[in-house]
Symmetry: C2
Subunit: 341 residues, 2 copies
């Protein structure tokens, strides 16, 4: 069996309580005794038992993340693994663990949070993929679980948000394309029920009108390759056929690019394309993709920091991360003189 606090107490010749005080740096023991207890604890190789600690202090020393995605499509999104890695870099420093739940449906998602709460598995959670009407806010309030959200939801939320503005990058993409002579710039967006799907569309729209252009065609897709392909097909056969398309993520952009090429179009000679995320693959495509880095690693790290400080009693203030800058590669070029069919 492992060394317990009682073993330390016995060897040091004091009571359990004194050991607890000493180990937690609390008053109630003299300097001399404290040092002696600490020394004995070290000699015996004492390690706190998390379960016992959790039972008496009603804490889990863990934070939760519920990922709501179709499991089959989860692998296609490069955001989560890197985001999780970012969370971890913070957690390891604080002896916290990450409990991950994957939910296939909205119901399963809610159930996921309820279970984490009911079982006391976590002390707080991180909310990703914020939705325009997000029922999770109220749910977590009722469950009394502290949370941190990625970007500020539109509904009022008592939880701190870790914000990374994506409108600047999209606006830069529009300006970049406009400077190349494009006037018909379409947008293949994510679901508008997500705030990042929405904000990217609005950013595109605003940047267009700022440039004195009509917003042009918008198609609501679903962040998947299949959705990106279908949306691209629709845009390319539309009357107002664009010469450039801004996609809300790299996956859709990649699928769109491949589809355009399969039609015999050249990217960027016949069609310019931009993505969002800057996945590793983006650099290695033919042509390499002009895109906006999302930096999920940083986002995860800061979100976890914010959550831990919130658990420590810090005030719930929002954090603003630097806006990612457009990375120009070869998938964007001058507007074609005579569009090809």
């Amino acid at each position: 069996m492992a060394v317990t606090i009682s073993d330390v107490a016995r060897v040091a010749g004091v009571s359990k309580g004194a050991v607890s005080y000493a180990l937690n740096g609390q008053p109630g023991v003299s300097e001399g005794t404290r040092d002696r207890i600490l020394k004995v604890a070290k000699e015996l190789g004492w390690k706190p038992n998390l379960r016992a600690k959790g039972l008496s202090s009603a804490k889990a020393f863990a934070v939760g993340l519920v990922v709501a995605r179709d499991p089959r499509l989860l692998g296609t999104d490069p955001f989560f693994p890197a985001f999780i890695a970012g969370i971890e870099t913070t957690l390891v420093e604080h002896e916290y663990a990450l409990v991950l739940t994957v939910a296939a449906s909205a119901d399963a998602e809610e159930l996921g949070y309820r279970k984490l709460a009911a079982d006391g598995r976590v002390d707080g959670v991180i909310l990703t993929d914020m939705r325009v009407e997000d029922s999770r806010i109220a749910l977590l309030e009722s469950l009394k679980i502290p949370a941190v959200t990625l970007n500020r939801p539109e509904t009022s939320s008592p939880f701190p948000a870790v914000c990374m503005d994506d409108t600047e990058g999209i606006a830069a993409a529009v300006e970049h394309l406009v400077s190349l002579g494009h006037t018909k710039i379409g947008h293949v967006g994510g679901p508008q029920s997500y705030i990042h799907g929405r904000s990217r569309r609005l950013a595109w729209q605003n940047a267009m009108s700022k440039a004195g252009l009509e917003a042009g065609s918008f198609i609501e897709a679903d962040f998947t390759a299949a959705g990106g392909l279908a949306a691209t097909a629709e845009l390319l056969r539309s009357a107002q056929r664009p010469t450039a398309i801004i996609y809300a993520n790299d996956l859709m952009a990649t699928a769109g690019q491949s589809y355009a090429q399969s039609l015999g179009l050249s990217v960027p000679d016949d069609l310019s394309i931009t993505g969002y995320d800057d996945t590793e693959l983006a650099t290695y495509l033919n042509p390499p993709l002009t895109t906006v880095p999302a930096d999920p690693l940083l986002w995860g790290r800061v979100a976890a920091q914010k959550l831990l400080s919130l658990l420590g009693g810090a005030p719930a203030e929002d954090v603003y991360l630097p806006s990612p800058k457009l990375v120009v590669r070869a998938s964007t070029g001058p507007v074609p003189r005579t569009p090809k069919n």
Copy 2:
């Protein structure tokens, strides 16, 4: 405060012990009393407190996964998210949770396991990315943590392995290319320190000799897009330049394909390409990629099942999953008459 077992005992007019027996379906209470206790528990809305349960039974009701990857590259591998989703589908049914740790280095990986063990965070772990000389086996034995491995490691292991044979798919890729007339078939493999990097290379090698061909050029890459590109470049400028390349994963294949195209080569007219994984994107590339599905979802589900049954005392027998079959798409075609430069 939540309803405790003592509350149930008081209301039902019995002792705590009787309630515990009744709720766990253990002998020691009569049918009538048991029903009464169960009824009271339900009425009061009693839910077991995991922490308390864990403290007395010395269990965590969670399993662990330590992912050792460069966090920056983690997002590029579609395997993990889907694998994790598979694990979850099993765990939710058994009221278990998944504790995820991300490690950037080998040292951090070992520390990750040690911490999970020391803190009693998990009752067992799943080992992925098995290496030829895998020190984790001995480590987990010494930490006394039950484990399940993905495929059987070469070093002797007391842990059950959940095996999915990848040699059949690679062999099928070779046969497919041979039937198209290819004789010079290269291989861009993963690190040979990984058993799946090694087994795929051996499968390629064996299939080649079985077809009466020389094995041809092999390059050891690292499963990344950058590595795939570099390896492809090396193969294409070699004296024994292949007309077809079998990659150990889709990411390298995609990077290789894009690179070949950027040189002005046509895939598959000048160069045939196959991958491994069958990521969502594979279907949407231009041309769509001939590849072998890895089914990480199934693998995760079964691995978790095996681990839970192991924790339940079941014998440590290996499980064999069906070998995935080659999916032929448009990235493979007849051998070119006169190879282009």
